[in-house]
Amino acid sequence: MAYSDKVVDHFNNPRNVGSLDKNDPNVGTGIVGAPECGDVMKLQIQVDDDNRVVDAKFKTFGCGSAIASSSLATEWIRDKTLDEVMEIKNTDIVRELSLPPVKIHCSVLAEDAIKAAVADLKRKQAARPHEKAKEAQPAG
């Protein structure tokens, strides 16, 4: 099966490979897997005080499509708010990378990883009721 040019490009030059400090309160980590093939994907996001993504990193052990899907995902979520990040759908990734039907699960994995990272971050934020209360107060 032939990979699309965009998949090959992301595979050969993956963007944002690496790790962020998972203990940083502003970092959310999502680790997901596809049990059918055994692929594992880690996606991390770092936000500023306004919950805007300032950095994103990934590490994927899997096929070219899984690597390309997560590489593209980290590009897309940078500079977005958490709400905007949650709107990214696997179908957007499928379209951008022209993934064939047998590789759609790779894009699902990337979407799951984004959601897991956001959920992890929100869990951390909820565990800090103090700052949360401060943020919730109207400005001025």
Binding site: I31, G33, P35, E36, V40, K42, F61, H105
Partner: protein, 210 residues
């Protein structure tokens, strides 16, 4: 659940000579073949109890005997319908053997028979396992880049231990599911069978590198 399973069980006595049969597909007494429904339980085909624990040598012996007994070549001069039946039975026996001889496929089979979900329907792995797999992968990658044989050997030991542990849990859960499927066991077995795939991938990765 057990009621419907018993209803689907083929006769244990030969419909021809009425002698008890070890396998419902072939009577050793009158040497007659017996077509069974395509969804006949794999354990039943070999006359083995529906349990996860099984005597692998005994399974292999029965597989060889049945393969010989229902082999289409033995019926070369029979009516075309009979030859068709033997070809179907030979395929059924093969498929059943492929699944039962592999501990993971056997557990997966028991899970599906008990109404469990498929990996695509329920992707979860046991708590913390994915993170551990991810970390092991990173360590393997590092050890490979340093060409650190000692570290790789150590990692291989860890992965094998992990595999043995997961395998043990799969065994006890699959036994429970074969006996009396409870929703909780089905879910947990699904998670561990998902998990073992990641661990097996780690083993494959290490066998390439070490």
């Amino acid at each position: 659940m057990t009621g419907s399973m018993e209803a689907a069980t083929p006769p244990t006595k030969c419909t021809h000579c009425h002698q008890p049969m070890r396998s419902p597909v072939f009577c050793q007494n009158c040497r007659v073949i017996n077509p069974v429904p395509p969804d006949t339980d794999y354990f039943t085909i070999f006359g083995l109890p529906r349990r996860y624990q099984l005597d692998e040598k005994e399974l292999h012996k029965r597989f060889l005997n049945l393969t010989r007994d229902v082999h289409p070549d033995r019926f070369a001069t029979s009516a075309p319908e009979t030859i068709n039946v033997t070809m179907r039975l030979a395929a059924q026996v093969n498929e059943a053997h492929e699944v039962l001889k592999d501990p993971v496929l056997r557990a997966e089979y028991l899970l599906q028979q008990a109404g469990g979900k498929r990996p695509s329907e329920e992707k979860g792995a046991p708590g913390g396992m994915l993170a551990e797999v991810m970390e092991l992968r990173e360590q393997i990658e590092e050890a490979v880049s340093r060409d650190d044989r000692t570290a790789l050997e150590e990692l291989r030991r860890r992965v094998n231990d992990m595999h043995a542990e997961v395998q043990e849990t799969v065994a006890s859960l699959a036994e429970a599911v074969a006996d009396q499927p409870e929703a909780e066991d089905l879910q947990e077995l699904r998670a561990y069978l998902n998990g073992i795939k990641y661990v097996r991938n780690l083993q494959d990765l290490l066998s390439d590198k070490v």
